[in-house]
Symmetry: D2
Subunit: 344 residues, 4 copies
């Protein structure tokens, strides 16, 4: 079932054939963005889009009219005529569905948190619906996990906050520039689409216009995901800011004594020299506006050599690089396409 | 029950005593604004604030902490120890409660539409829960209904769109400058608080940020309210714009042939010479920002003498002049206080 | 100079070769959007991007990093090594430059208003810098001017307000459904990017956040552009609304007596049956959000059969369909590419 | 010149007479807010409002029409017929004007940073225009400096960021709960009015809508102001968020080992038991919306007992509690009025 439907010579655009892709959970924010992006991907044919439940009513997506005019059908695990399935579902639904699809030989790209944590105890605490980690799972932070992603059967797409924050911190950590045991503070600001499509008091326009709010200090489940990648504890507090799409993550860390600003610059530039979707901006600090509606992550920083501190800022579009765009970037890696295919 | 608790000589601030006021429906947008304004009114003591239902859970209003620290109690028609009751309730609740309160001798200021339409057929169509118009009802467009308001037992506070629009059109209509039978187009733009406090797809932040939407063309129930005051038909289409508080009403009309721009100016200036809350701005067209969080209505206009057309713009804060502020302005008139008391 | 640099067989993507395109005025809102779009156009190579003046300082465009990493150079009419030049310049600069480029054999796509008005007197009034209309000029409202666009040497791209408004009105006008001589009111709402990139009191964040403002009633120069296309007078008032990108145009017109709602629907559906970028939504009125960052124009409407009135709503992204996107759509028509190339 | 013009018995509103107040710099954001607030202050008569320069053109303030209809006149140090002068001027202008006014016997309330830093070296670095600190200067963080404020001749009003941040940290510092020498991180988010009224690329609507930006990490001059009050170093990074008015300050600190959450709560509640404008919200974290257009500061927090960390959130309206409102609160203390006078 996972063979490419068409195996051609490929052309100068890197086309190595047409992959049949399905999207489960196509009516949420991330799901619609997936459909929008996949519909213009030159190596993809969308063979199915489903709602989040077996009882979902079939419907069209008016905002995608003349982009993708298919019908979103009820979810049915047995009916995916596809090579790869993107899951834009609540984590419990992903936890249940992914193993079934994998057993059928499909490759799965899961946008939920169900398969992100390797530590059983932490996963049981934050994602209790996940029975176990399937074989062949890879954590899809593309820029740092290329090899694992290439061969992944189950791609676990990172959370939006971890994507922004880790792309800002990992270059320093990998270069050995972060002082061991010192505080790392991550103060992140997210647009309201990060709170999901459900209409709640929290997502009401009047609650957010002209306002900013911190939430869930110390307790957000993206914290263990970041700690797993960094190999150390972090203090993380997310905030909601009055915009629709985008995350800006502000990070405060201590450098190994003697680290120069030049060494920090070199670490970032080396980390992303070949990354098509990360742009390093140095002390021209990046802003959400520059990455909204794109798959870019822009990273800037400022070193205070006198005190050995570094301030890093990272920005992404939470629905693109923080969800659907990175999922497709990972899909491209999994199938041997250029990372940029369908994303520029 | 309606006697003033204190009957004094009054002082230089126009204080003629302390009126006991109650608010029914104190947890919605308009209700909280009422509490906020009444709590600083020098001639008012808030004796009760209730929820919208007999089963409402007693609660505090955290955003009014240190302004008004009372408890919002369940609604109970028999329990209003007050001289005047403000109803910030759904229309059906107002339609039921107002007659009971009136029968008990209280004066009622109703912010719903239940008692705005005098024509029985139209009222039956748009506000079917209203059995009949009680005696002593007045339509509370303060600037044009002063005498009726003074003696009103039941004050029917105007709708937000009619307040903005009528204050822009009535000066021309009263001066006889509007061409008989010609089109009047009212294109109004409202902040999202106008859609109410309920969390719906329509009030979700992500649906409104970066967007504008027209709704209910030809069919909005504020249309007959405006037609009643103007004595002619209008075409009215409301729009939602991505801000929290405020309405801008754009009005297009034809002038009686030969009307000069100077005559239009004179009509506006005469109409509002003594109005403390209407500011005429002429061709410096008013903007919502100038009236947000105030009880002002700013009105500007532009005459095209060549074609006999006039364009009028009127702006208000929908929760103040378009609801709670005007209600208190009317309360002031009903009780003989200066219109501005508690509102500047 | 206008020959295609590469003349190939073309491929299944409709590639008929690579056109050398230049952009003059690449640092403004429309110019940057042009660069962004052209850089991913499969049939275009950007050979030059210039500032607005001969004295512009060479600079990069950081927000387009890793999309287009070229340098914006000073403007020099003699130096355009291109087949087609897009002018995103102030109208006076376009008025001066376009004839020079045309004389050199280049095809020109002008985004300013310099060449939009055919009537000499009106053009002299609204665009006084334009000496005369060059031969081979076409008005680029793509959906209604396909034949003229194909052979145009100078493509005059429509204004943002006329694009939105005419796409909402022309289907009715062409079908003969608009009542002769009756009022047409166009009340348009634009995001602040429509006010340009210059920092002024008008474009200050604090002047616009939480606000709406009408401006230039009766006097905007897009009025004669709309009247030219419609063949009748209109009343047009633009407004600024607190969002970045997008226009919603609300239109009020009278139908020929007896016109049914079905006839209106048929007129719209027929007009746009083959239009890849216009989506008719009927009484599901369109919203800016659905077209932001796309080249779509969504059109909805509501007929009041009792009074013979029609209300039409049209939405576009002012920087895409209202400027750079439509310019590229026209470019595609001029060069025989599929209209959608590079735009989906 | 500083005697009260009217010395009465006072009344039940705490009226101890009428103070003649002048405002220098009345056309900026803070200056207009001062006029708005002072015009309704029962113990104040505004005797003069000036522009920022001797050459300022006399003008009215249309947005304050029917609130204050005076004329803003050119700045003239010799012409202040007032008891107290509020300076809403650029710091260099304040540095020059304040000593002149003090020498004339007037009391001065300065909203600039000119007189905030006591350390000569730091003041010379950050506010070089200030020659020296006049006698009788008090730092006007009302809740912590009551005694100094009462007798102040020159009141130096705190910066907006320090107001929000210090009100969140000082209760812990004064109670001895902050771990000595440990990091304090202050990540603050400000509305765009904080960037001032000048039209710049930074204040353009399109640069901020849908965006967030960090600026000036490690280098903002509010840092030494906070360090002076706290008696220790802090890491401070301000951000701009897409709203008009308001600051949310997120603070990360370490507690003395063994500190309980209850001890933290007690410290906050004790600090603000008598403060009319600080509301402690505990783990119901405060939001900007709750304090916009008010003089309140809301403070909430969360303790992680396991790691000894505390996260504090503080919100204010930067133009009210962060500037003009606190200035009037201080004025009230200086003249013996109730702190709340004119501010509720």
């Amino acid at each position: 079932m996972t063979q490419l439907v068409t195996e051609t010579e490929g052309d100068q655009r890197g086309n190595k054939g047409l992959v049949r892709a399905a999207v489960a959970g196509a009516t949420g924010f991330a799901g619609q963005e997936l459909i929008r992006l996949l519909s213009r991907h030159p190596n993809v044919t969308i063979t199915m889009a489903t709602g989040s439940q077996a009882t979902s009513t079939p419907r069209r997506l008016p905002s995608l009219s003349k982009i993708w005019d298919g019908t979103v059908v009820p979810l049915n695990a047995a009916a995916f005529a596809a090579d790869a399935v993107f899951l834009a579902l609540p984590e419990a639904a992903s936890a249940e569905l992914a193993p079934v699809l994998l057993a059928s030989g499909l490759r799965v790209i899961d946008l939920s948190g169900a398969f992100r944590l390797r530590d059983d105890a932490k996963r049981a605490k934050f994602y209790p619906a996940t029975a176990s980690l399937p074989a062949g799972v890879a954590y899809g932070l593309t820029e740092f996990e290329l090899d694992a992603i290439k061969s992944a059967r189950l791609l676990s797409n990172p959370g939006c906050y971890p994507t922004a924050s880790l792309l800002g911190l990992l270059p320093l950590q990998r270069a050995g520039l972060l002082k061991k045991g010192a505080d790392i503070i991550i103060d992140a600001k997210s647009g309201i689409s990060g709170a999901g499509k459900a209409a709640t008091g929290r997502t009401h326009f009047s609650e957010n216009h002209g306002s900013v709010a911190a939430y869930n200090p110390f307790g957000h489940r993206h914290t263990p995901e970041m700690e797993q990648a960094l190999g150390q504890g972090v203090t993380f507090v997310p905030h909601l800011v009055p915009l629709d799409r985008g995350i800006l993550s502000s990070m405060y860390a201590h450098l190994v004594p003697g680290t120069t600003a030049a060494a920090v610059t070199e670490a970032f530039e080396r980390a992303y020299a070949d990354a098509p979707f990360v742009r390093v901006t140095g002390d021209a600090l990046p802003e959400i506006k520059h990455v909204a509606h794109t798959n870019f992550c822009d990273v800037g920083w400022k070193v205070d050599e006198a005190t050995g501190r570094v301030f890093v800022v990272s920005v992404i579009d939470n629905l693109v690089k923080g969800a659907s765009g990175q999922a497709i970037q990972n899909f491209n890696v999994m199938y041997g396409f250029d990372q940029k295919t369908g994303l520029l």
